[in-house]
């Protein structure tokens, strides 16, 4: 997974296929330094790039996904018969730099499971979001992704030069 993101004025917190911009004014649980983007960029490390959710959270999300989502979106998120939640389609729809993690959380919690929207808990929904991000190449760290729209709104999903190769997250179990 030797991938790189374009680094702009705002620090990019991922080298995976899907990347995130962090609003420099954000001072939530994931903030490294609230003083500004430059400080953030300077402090960027392999660990911090991947610390918006944990592996345990993604695993919890996978269990929720298997129980409530896989029957429509596929056991590998391939999207049969519903929309694919991984690969080029996911990156095209979500990783265009115009969507936040909160947008993804909003759609997931207000529309899914289809025909029974809202049946899961907020924690279950955010865990599924963590799982989807994980399956799209974003690696876990040591901070959980909170079910807090105010926090999630400051995480922008970014495009990536290598975004076309996101169908699997190498190194993860199949």
């Amino acid at each position: 997974m030797k991938k790189s993101c374009r680094f702009g004025a705002v620090a990019v917190l991922s080298v995976a296929a899907v990347c995130f911009d962090v609003d420099p004014t954000w001072s939530g649980a994931f903030a490294i330094d609230p003083s500004g983007s430059r400080r953030l960029e300077q402090q960027e490390t392999e660990q911090t790039r991947h610390s918006i959710f944990t592996g345990a959270q993604a695993l919890r999300g996978e269990a929720v996904y298997d129980a409530h989502c896989a029957s429509c979106h596929g056991s590998k998120l391939e999207g049969t018969p519903a929309s694919a939640l991984t690969g080029e389609r996911f990156v095209t729809k979500w990783g265009d730099g115009k969507h936040t993690v909160d947008d993804l959380y909003y759609i997931t919690r207000t529309q899914m499971p289809y025909g029974d929207a809202g049946k899961l808990t907020k924690q279950q929904y955010i865990d599924v979001v963590a799982f989807m991000l994980n399956k799209n190449g974003y690696r876990p760290g040591d901070q959980e992704l909170p079910a807090d729209p105010a926090v999630l709104r400051k995480l922008t999903i970014k495009p990536n030069d290598s975004s076309k190769d996101t169908t699997t997250n190498k190194g993860e179990r199949e």
Partner: protein
């Protein structure tokens, strides 16, 4: 399949065929105008311009229909939703899947040619509902927003034109195009993505745009005053995803316009929200509005108007009148006089409950639900029985208005959520109505939703299918099931009948429904039925 798809670059195109090109210059405008009388072809998606879906064939009749047998099958290798109504012209059947266009021998199912196409943009919504034919050209839309013209003899793509930018929230094409004279008439689908809807005409020769009518009006256009703030119109929905009909005598095209968006959060769009959930009647040559009828003003239930056919003539209160049937996901069949524009009668074709209750954050149960009423296949009219036969889905659910409304580019834009009743409670109704009075003559109730087309014949038969997979032949006089055949997949597409070399055939589509219908995926399959030799009676 996937491997070669990924190895071919650029304008991916594969044409398979016998190599024996044959002459298929038509159908001509004269042939299309006379499609309602044609018994050897099936020339338009709904059989004829008026969409009557009536064929004057009697070889298969009430006495021998139980002897029907499959005579051939074709499987496309596709398991996406299979909705299309086949077209049959001079012994060749033309079918589509989202990615393929196929010409088959209509009596043997042998492939004449097949053209596959790889997506060039994102696919917003998978179904493709068929093609239109004229002057040697086959026209179809694609789910990523292109119009294609193919040579009907060879399957070669003659031109391909991007009409909408699917990546920019402009929708994609799902419905079958309509062709009249040298114009292709088509509009983009998927109101739920918050598109700003329209319907337009394009040149048959090259796809160049000719006219456009905004189903969600621009600022200053008539109807724009029915939306409250102008911003509401930017993502107001008003898709066009169901069949059009044409009155060639009057030069009018009838358009079914889908629901407004956001579906449930209506606070931001006060007013009638024209021309959503409406029948829009345009001058087919210019796109100028002649009149409209809004079936559901200010819809809050995702109740698209889906059907604006058949156009037919019947006697009402002692007077011969030119009529049009309009029905949609609200489950209310309405018949109007096409000349006086008067609504003559209405008939519920599903359960209808709480239709006027406003939505709440806690949820309001109403019928039909989001997946109820009449979907992409609509009523057929039989002049022998003088009845309309309407397939519908009887399925309710709970609608919730969101506490927060948010438009997210490229995402579903509902403004709330919907919880359907358990699938086990979903039923299908096929309702037969006296076309002169609106009186219900009979009703067939299926244990599963009815989504397939209905075709009726002068032998007083009605052919249709169930999502259970069963192909049905019913006595059109009383609804008695005379024949049932398990096709092995979901029936939710076309059912057509035609006669070749003196033999009557019924061709049906079987395969997958979309994911909404909680049915296992099936292979897209055409099955052609006929009577065994010797079974036909005079």
């Amino acid at each position: 399949m996937m491997k070669w798809r990924t190895t071919l670059a650029m304008s991916f195109l594969l044409t398979l065929g016998s190599g024996n090109a044959y002459s298929q210059a038509g159908p001509t405008q004269e042939e299309l105008n006379a499609a309602h009388k044609n018994t050897t072809d099936w020339l338009l998606s709904n059989h004829d311009y008026g969409g009557q879906r009536f064929v004057d064939l009697k070889q298969i009749n009430r006495q021998n229909v139980a002897s029907l047998r499959p005579v051939c099958m074709y499987q496309s290798g596709d398991t996406k939703a299979f909705h299309n109504n086949p077209i049959v012209y001079r012994g060749v059947m033309y079918i589509t899947t989202p990615s393929s266009t196929v010409a088959l021998d209509a009596t043997t199912c042998k492939v004449r040619w097949r053209t596959d196409r790889r997506l060039k943009s994102i696919e917003v919504h998978a179904p493709n509902r068929g093609v239109a034919l004229k002057d040697g050209k086959l026209i179809r839309g694609t789910t990523d927003g292109y119009l294609l013209a193919l040579d009907t003899a060879t399957g070669k793509i003659l031109w391909e034109k991007q009409i909408v930018d699917a990546k920019n929230n402009e929708g994609g094409f799902n419905s079958a195009p309509m062709i009249y004279e040298d114009l292709i008439i088509m509009g983009p689908g998927v109101a739920e993505q918050g598109i700003k809807g329209w319907v337009g005409a394009f040149k048959l020769s090259n796809g160049e745009p000719v006219w456009r009518f905004n189903t969600i009006p621009d600022d200053g256009e008539p109807g724009s005053e029915t939306w409250g703030k102008p911003e509401a119109k930017l993502h107001g929905g008003g898709a066009v995803w169901a069949p059009l009909s044409v009155d060639p005598e009057q030069g009018l095209v009838y358009i079914p316009v889908a629901n407004p968006a956001p579906d449930f959060y209506d606070d931001i769009r006060p007013g009638a929200n024209l021309y959503t959930s409406s029948m829009v009647v345009l001058d087919v040559r210019t796109g100028k509005l002649k009149w409209y009828y809004q079936a559901v003003p200010h819809d809050i239930h995702d109740w698209d108007l889906t059907q604006v056919s058949p156009l037919f003539t019947s006697t009402v209160k002692g007077k011969t009148r030119k009529l049009v049937a309009a029905v949609g996901k609200d489950g209310l069949l309405q018949v109007l006089d096409r000349e006086t524009r008067e609504r003559l009668y209405e008939v519920p074709v599903t359960t209808r409950e709480n239709v006027n209750l406003p939505l709440t954050h806690q949820g309001v149960r109403a019928c039909p639900g989001v997946l109820g009423g009449v979907l992409w296949n609509g009523p057929a009219y039989n002049p022998v029985t003088n009845m309309l036969y309407t397939p519908a889905v009887d399925w309710c659910g709970v609608f919730k208005e969101a506490e927060e409304n948010r438009f997210i580019l490229g995402q579903i834009y509902m403004g709330g959520s919907y919880v359907a009743d358990p699938m086990e409670k979903a039923r299908g109704w096929l309702t037969a109505v006296d076309a002169s009075t609106g009186a219900v003559k009979w009703r067939y109730e299926s244990q599963k939703p009815l989504l397939a087309a209905v075709t009726t014949t002068s032998a007083e038969l009605a052919f249709t299918g169930e999502t259970s997979g069963d192909f049905l032949a019913l006595d059109a006089r009383n609804g008695k099931v005379l024949y049932r055949f398990n096709t092995g997949g979901v029936m939710n597409g076309g059912v057509v009948s035609y006669s070749i070399n003196g033999k009557q055939y019924v061709a049906v589509t079987s395969g997958s429904a979309s994911g909404f219908w909680q049915a296992a995926p099936g292979a897209s399959t055409i099955i052609v039925f006929a009577l065994p030799n010797g079974a036909a009676t005079p």
